[in-house]
C-alpha cells in the first residue's frame, strides 16, 4: 500500500481539521434554544426599526426601460390540484377569490370583478431571499380597497393568504400585518408585464407586498382570511417557509 500525501490533500485535511473543531461548535451553539432564540429575536429588532423609520414609505418604482428582459419564476411553477387545472383551462372564468374571517361582510369576487375595481399598476423590483432580483410590472386592485369593502373587525390583526398550490406536499400560505395590508403598493396582481399572470408566476392572483422578500408574495391566492393571531394556522409561524424552513416572518431584510 502506498501513501501519497498531496498538497491539496494536506490543505483539505488541515481545513477540515480546523473546521471539525470550530464548525460543530457553531452548529451546536445554535441547537441551544436560548442562544437560537436570542439570534432569532433580531427579526423583531428589524421589524420595529423598519416600522419606525419607514412605516408608510413607498418601494421604489421603475421605468419600463428598467425591467428585466426575463423574469425568473421560483417556488411552485405548476399546481397539481384538479380544480385549479380546470380553472386554468377555462381561463379562470368560473374562478373566484374568497375574503373572510374577521370581517363584517365576507366577499366572493370573480376575476372579472377584481379587474373592474380601481387598479394600481407598478413597476417594482422583486428581491428573492436567495439573493437575485428581477424587475417587473404588476397590476391589480389594492388589498386595502377590498378590506374596506369587507370591513375588518377590530380584533383582526393579520391577513392570511391561502394558496392553491402544494409545495413539497404541503399547502403554501403566507401572512402580513395591517401596516402592509393597507400599504398603497400592496395589491392583488392578476396581470404581470401587461399580460394576465402566467401559471409559473401565480395565476390567477398573486399578492404583491413590495417592501418584503419574494417568499411573502403568495402565488395562486385562493382565499384571504383576516385573523387575530397566527397561532393554530398550519405550523403557526405565519407562512410556509416560516413553518418549514426557519425563515423570518418579517422579510423586509
Amino acid at each position: 500500500m502506498t501513501l501519497i500525501v498531496s498538497r491539496r490533500g494536506l490543505i483539505r485535511a488541515g481545513a477540515a481539521g480546523a473546521g471539525s473543531l470550530l464548525l460543530p461548535g457553531c452548529d451546536r451553539l445554535f441547537d441551544n434554544a436560548t442562544f437560537r432564540e436570542t439570534l432569532e429575536s433580531g427579526e423583531n429588532l428589524h421589524r420595529v426599526t423598519q416600522r419606525v423609520l419607514g412605516r408608510n414609505a413607498l418601494a421604489r418604482e421603475y421605468r419600463e426601460a428598467d425591467m428585466s428582459p426575463a423574469f425568473r419564476a421560483n417556488g411552485s411553477r405548476e399546481v397539481t390540484d384538479p380544480a385549479y387545472r380546470q380553472h386554468l383551462a377555462q381561463g379562470f372564468a368560473n374562478w373566484s377569490l374568497m375574503l373572510g374571517g374577521l370581517v363584517e361582510h365576507p366577499l366572493t369576487l370573480s376575476l372579472q370583478a377584481l379587474r373592474d375595481l380601481p387598479q394600481r399598476r407598478q413597476i417594482t423590483r422583486h428581491d428573492c431571499v436567495e439573493g437575485w432580483s428581477a424587475i417587473g410590472q404588476w397590476q391589480g386592485p389594492r388589498l386595502g380597497l377590498l378590506l374596506d369593502m369587507a370591513r375588518l373587525r377590530p380584533e383582526a390583526r393579520y391577513l392570511v393568504f391561502h394558496c392553491a398550490d402544494l409545495y413539497h406536499g404541503r399547502p403554501y400560505y403566507e401572512s402580513i400585518d395591517l401596516v402592509d395590508a393597507f400599504h398603497p403598493q400592496t395589491i392583488l396582481a392578476w396581470a404581470m408585464n401587461g399580460k394576465p399572470l402566467e401559471e409559473a408566476h401565480g395565476a390567477p392572483l398573486r399578492l404583491r407586498v413590495e417592501r418584503q422578500l419574494g417568499y411573502k408574495h403568495a402565488k395562486f391566492v385562493a382565499r384571504i382570511e383576516a385573523v387575530a393571531s397566527l397561532e393554530g394556522i398550519h405550523g403557526g409561524k405565519g407562512g410556509y417557509w416560516e413553518d418549514n424552513g426557519a425563515y423570518a416572518w418579517y422579510a423586509g431584510i
Binding site: G19, F30, R36, E40, R60, R72, R125, W132
Partner: protein
C-alpha cells in the same frame, strides 16, 4: 553619548500602556463578529452563487462572477468564473465532499460556512443578528474614537506622513521587516494608519451600507443607499468584494502580528500592556 531628552521617554524593553479598553473590547468583539459574518455570509452566497452589476440580476441575466459545477469529459468539475474566465476549483468551490463523504455541488464548502450544512434560513439568522453587533460596535467605537482623541492622535495622517518620500521610506522599512523600536514603536507607522483607517472608515462602513442597500424595507425609506451603488445587485457585488477586502486585511494583520512578536502583541490587545521593542544595536 546620552541624549538627555531620551531618559524621560519610555525606552526599549519597558512595559507601557498601549491600547485603551474600548479598543481592546471592540477588537475582540469584532474578531468574533466578523468571522461569524463572513462564514454565514458565504452560506447566504451559496443560495445564489452569482454576482451581477445593476439593479436586477437573476439566472437569465449576465453574471460577472459565478461559482458552479459542470460535466467535463468523463467527469465533473467545480469552477469559479470571473468575467468569462473559468478556473477549476474542484474540491474547494462548486464541487466538494462534505464531512460525511458525500459529494456536494454548493459554492463554498462546509468548513467555510455557518451552519456547516446548507441552510439559507439559519445562515441569515446568524448573519442578520450579528449585523446589529457589527453596526452598533462600529458606531460606538467611532464615537468614542472621535471624543477620546483616538482618531486625532493615533489614526490621523499628518501632512509630513503623506509625503511620498516618507511613504516610500515606510514601505522600504516594512519590506525589510525593520519595525520601529523604543518610543517610536508607540506610534502607528503611516502604513498602519492607512490600513486601520481603511478598515474603520472604508471597508466596515461599506459592508454595513451595502448590506442595508440589499434590504427591500430599507430601500423604501432610504433609496439613496441603494442608488449610490448603482442598484441592489451592484450593492451585493460590492458587499462580496469588500468582505474579501476584510479577509485580506485579516491575513496581512496576522502576518504582521506574527512578525512583530505575537505574544507581546496579543498581550497588549488583551491587557493593554505592551513591551517596547529594544533598540537595534548598530
Amino acid at each position: 553619548m546620552i541624549d538627555p531628552a531620551a531618559s524621560s521617554a519610555p525606552q526599549g524593553g519597558e512595559l507601557v500602556r498601549r491600547h485603551r479598553w474600548p479598543t481592546r473590547l471592540w477588537h475582540w468583539t469584532n474578531a468574533v463578529t466578523l468571522l461569524v459574518m463572513l462564514m454565514s455570509g458565504l452560506m447566504i452566497f451559496n443560495a445564489h452563487p452569482r454576482l451581477y452589476w445593476g439593479e436586477y440580476g437573476a439566472n437569465y441575466d449576465k453574471a460577472w462572477l459565478k461559482v458552479g459545477s459542470a460535466r467535463s469529459g468523463g467527469g465533473e468539475q467545480g469552477y469559479i468564473e470571473i468575467a468569462g474566465h473559468r478556473w477549476d476549483t474542484t474540491g474547494t468551490l462548486g464541487l466538494w465532499t462534505d464531512a460525511d463523504g458525500k459529494v456536494q455541488r454548493r459554492a463554498f464548502p462546509y468548513w467555510a460556512t455557518i451552519p456547516s450544512r446548507y441552510s439559507l434560513a439559519i445562515g441569515r439568522i446568524w448573519h442578520l443578528a450579528f449585523a446589529w453587533v457589527l453596526a452598533a460596535g462600529l458606531l460606538l467605537y467611532l464615537a468614542w474614537s472621535l471624543v477620546a482623541g483616538h482618531i486625532r492622535r493615533d489614526i490621523h495622517i499628518t501632512r509630513a506622513e503623506w509625503r511620498p518620500s516618507h511613504l516610500w521610506h515606510d514601505i522600504r522599512e516594512h519590506a525589510r521587516l525593520r519595525f520601529p523600536t523604543g518610543a517610536s514603536a508607540l506610534r502607528y507607522s503611516v502604513l498602519q494608519k492607512l490600513a486601520y483607517a481603511g478598515v474603520l472608515f472604508g471597508l466596515l462602513p461599506m459592508m454595513i451600507l451595502t448590506g442595508l442597500a440589499m434590504s427591500p424595507g430599507t430601500d423604501a425609506w432610504a433609496p439613496l443607499v441603494t442608488e449610490v451603488f448603482g442598484g441592489r445587485q451592484s450593492a451585493r457585488s460590492v458587499h462580496f468584494i469588500c468582505a474579501w477586502g476584510l479577509v485580506g486585511f485579516f491575513v496581512l494583520h496576522i502576518v504582521m502580528v506574527v512578525l512583530a512578536g505575537p505574544l507581546n502583541e496579543v498581550r497588549s490587545m488583551v491587557t493593554g500592556w505592551y513591551r517596547l521593542p529594544r533598540e537595534r544595536r548598530p
